[in-house]
């Protein structure tokens, strides 16, 4: 944090913000769990792909699917267009599969899980017991019982350790399990949906993931069901030199609703580790999915040593009319982030929302944003992205808004603000805007002056000057996003609420 302490902070930047960024930059999850692990040999080749498939006891079609992906991957080039720089990754110098020895026999219930693993999650504030008092969150114990229930799927390196509240979810008809289990138990669903949103050939990292993904979460919400509790997956990388490749598949059938949370941490190590995940979400008619992430992978130390390379492909396909998806992400971790949670708005009147706060400190590099692809009529999307850079970090917003010719009467509103703390960091904006019909309106703003006129008028009427009023409205909005984060993330959110974007550079 030395860099931040010495930095001359520009006038107008809120001290509370600087403190909050500093606080966020202190990594609290850098410890590791001393546990006996079992590894597949280093490197990736068809044998490793088969081995992962075997370990997960997958049917033949899945193995073939993986092998086809691997074949394709060998012919692909690593993308270089993102504004991130890192030494070349040796894909053969990594472990692609690591699991705790004690997981060799899949435990039948959480009671059988190795206490060391349970303790790990306990320490992270994610108790894998079915009484959820969220550790350290003020007021959580007073929250209504329904509101605090969160079903957790815990993924430790390459395997899922266990999933809570299975029974209660089953009663509601919700399927929530690890993807390896889903491939065995619900092959028809997996076969129907896997790879339909993020095709095997989508991009270099997604293709690699398709070949070697070891575990992840699977969610199916049947028609008309409102998921009785929030679902959550907590990813922990523990082993050294190990890449984590998880795959998440969420299907919200007609008229259903689910709120899904994702958290991730990793121990502090000197060497960089690779994390390449794929998340696919399918949303049918009138269904709604809320997907929230607090990404807190180890960001590397203050000299830029170590950290996670986070190369993630996340995409939601709003297939049905009036379907809705909302991505909320708080990105504070990872040495390098390459992540663009996207929305394909296929159904008429479907809606996509993307709220992001990305904080980069020390030598962190974040290249993140979203894609809003409007295909259906009357579709709406909204992008709100706040990037904060401190130390020697680089933070890039990269996004696409595309209005296809048939997406008549669609709307997009994009706002992205960046804040620089200190003069050694960078903030960049790379939006792509493609409008192919004239009944749609697209607005991209990166100024704080464009706030709701009515709100502004209200404030001014009460004697505030314009600047104060704008600041109030913008900051109020930022806080709104954070407070909309589910209870699970309330602790992180409480810290981040102190951040204001006064003095942002556009």
């Amino acid at each position: 944090m030395a860099a931040l302490d010495q930095a001359q902070v520009k006038e107008g930047v809120d001290q509370e913000t600087v403190d909050a960024v500093r606080e966020v930059g202190t990594y609290k999850y850098g410890w590791d769990t001393d546990i006996e692990m079992e590894y597949a040999p280093k490197g990736v080749n068809p044998d490793i792909v088969r081995l992962i498939s075997d370990k997960n006891e997958e049917p033949e079609w899945m193995t073939e699917w993986r092998l086809a992906a691997f074949e394709r991957w060998t012919k692909m080039d690593e993308p270089t267009w993102a504004m991130v720089h890192y030494p070349p990754i040796d894909f053969q110098d990594q472990y692609y599969y690591a699991r705790p020895k004690s997981m060799e026999e899949k435990p039948k219930s959480l009671d059988e899980v190795d206490p060391k693993l349970l303790a790990t999650y306990e320490k992270l504030g994610i108790p894998l017991k079915e009484q959820m008092i969220l550790a350290g969150v003020e007021g959580a114990e007073n929250a209504p019982a329904e509101g605090r229930k969160v079903a957790v799927d815990a993924v430790f390196d390459s395997v899922s350790v266990g999933t809570t509240f299975q029974k209660e979810l089953k009663e509601a008809g919700v399927i929530f399990c690890s993807i390896s289990e889903a491939i065995k138990e619900h092959p028809e669903l997996v076969k129907k949906y896997l790879g339909t949103v993020v095709p095997v050939s989508d991009n270099f990292y997604a293709t690699l993931n398709s070949a070697v993904f070891s575990d992840g979460s699977f969610v199916y919400i049947p028609p008309g069901v409102r998921c009785p509790m929030e679902l959550s997956t907590y990813f922990r990388i523990n082993a050294e030199n190990t890449g984590q490749f998880e795959r998440t598949l969420i299907i919200a059938d007609k008229g259903s609703y689910v709120s899904y949370l994702e958290g991730c941490t990793a121990p502090q190590r000197d060497t960089a580790q690779l994390h390449a995940a794929v998340v696919e979400i399918i949303i049918e008619e009138d269904a709604e999915v809320k997907y929230s992430t607090v990404q807190n992978w180890f960001p590397g130390d203050e000299n830029g040593k170590g950290g996670i390379y986070n190369f993630v492909t996340k995409r939601a396909d709003c297939r049905g009319d009036r379907s809705k998806v909302m991505w909320t992400q708080v990105e504070t971790g990872s040495a390098v982030t390459w992540k663009y949670p996207s929305c394909i708005l296929r159904g008429n009147e479907s809606q996509g929302e993307f709220y992001s706060i990305a904080i980069a400190n020390n030598y962190q590099q974040a290249d993140t944003g979203t894609k809003m692809v409007h295909l259906g009529k009357n579709t709406k999307s909204r992008i709100v992205s706040k990037g904060i850079s401190a130390g020697k970090a680089q933070n890039t917003y990269r996004g696409l808004v595309s209005m296809h010719p048939k997406a008549k009467d669609s709307r997009n509103y994009t706002q992205c603000d960046s804040l620089l703390i200190g003069d050694k960091c960078g903030a960049h904006t790379v939006p792509y805007i493609e409008v192919k019909n004239n009944s749609s309106r697209v607005e991209h703003e990166a100024t704080t002056s464009k706030v709701d006129d009515d709100q502004l008028f209200y404030c001014r009427q009460r004697g505030m000057d314009e600047e104060e009023a704008v600041a109030l409205v913008v900051n109020g909005f930022c806080k709104d996003v954070l407070q909309a984060l589910p209870m699970e993330f309330a602790m992180e959110a409480q810290q981040l609420v102190a951040i204001s974007l006064e003095g942002s550079v556009g």
Partner: protein, 426 residues
Amino acid sequence: MAVPEVKQSATEARLATLTMPDAGCTRAAREDALARVLETGLPGRRDEYWKYTRPDTLITSDAMPAAVLKDDEPPIFDKLDRLKIVFVDGVFSPNDSDDLSLEGVSIDRLEDICCKDIHWAKELYGVLEARGQVPVQRPLAALNTAFASDGVAIHVTGKPSKPINLIYRHASPTSDAILHHVVRVESGAEATILETGPAASRFNKCMEIDVADNGTLHHVRAQGRDHERRAATHMFTRLGQESVYKSFTLTVNGVLTRNEQIVELTGDDAVAHVAGACVGDGDFHHDDTVFVTHDAVNCESRQVFKKVLRNGATGVFQGKILVKAGAQKTDGYQISQSLLLDDDSQFLAKPELEIYADDVACSHGSTSGAIDETALFYLRSRGVPTKDATNMLTLAFLAEAVDEIEDGSLAEAIVNRLEGWLARRS
């Protein structure tokens, strides 16, 4: 990185049709530029920088034929007193041009800069173009430096009494012109350069502008009316301390226009405004690519681009503000807006910011949409016919860009042109 095979063969095919002029003192600069072309190859359709514009027809061996429009409209700025320098299909025409002597400025043909030993021009030729190749390559500009067959060197030392008008006439339906101009504005000097006309069937133009401390250059361009013409132009501008550069471009018609403006603010307190208004109808593709680099303290830059599109016309805007580390107190602004008059047209934009200094204010905005129905209704309810109301709102939409022209008479001429276009088209 090696040039992909497809690109390499396209580049070779294009180069085969060109001969480097026997250019004496600019020879070294031309050889260097050719090396740059060979190193990167000419633009290909998979290049990120050409994502929204297909460069194919700009690099073919021969220019695609373009009919010469029989123009009944008097040339723009006709009523204004100006010094005319005329090029017909990219060749200087002494008979059509005025006497090139004017107080406060000296104008020479590019081919004379060696024999007349014009130092500043020899030293500037190809230099700003080469600087402008980083971080984004512009091979068409390098091609221009290597093979430009004509052009002028304009040296502004005082405050000339009238604008200098480079007039580009189009005469042959297969002309393929490459022009390269160099401009130097000395400390405290001030001039206005106008560029008008359709130029050629295919036109590759490059202008290098070096504005010294306290110098001022106004640039107003009206890209002409021939429907089938194609153009790729580059303006490389370097600005010294407290210098001012203001550029406005009006583009009407033309199947393909790519205008690149590369501005580098290297002296403190410099000001750069780059604006453009374009109106496109039918088979029309117009691309404004702007790259503004702030490399000094307390500079101001503005980019204002407005596009009115209909009947399948395409408008592209790629704009960038790069604020280098240390370029504190930068005030950068960028706006790109399109008005789509029907459902077939499209607007593609990439408004970028890249900022490495913390005490700056940079904002950018981009919008796209149809004409405001409420405003239309308001005008109609007051008895204005739909056609006139639409034209009125279209002009109002373009006004922010036209307002960047400081000289009232030049702005008026531009507005008249726009009104004429709208009246003919609606």
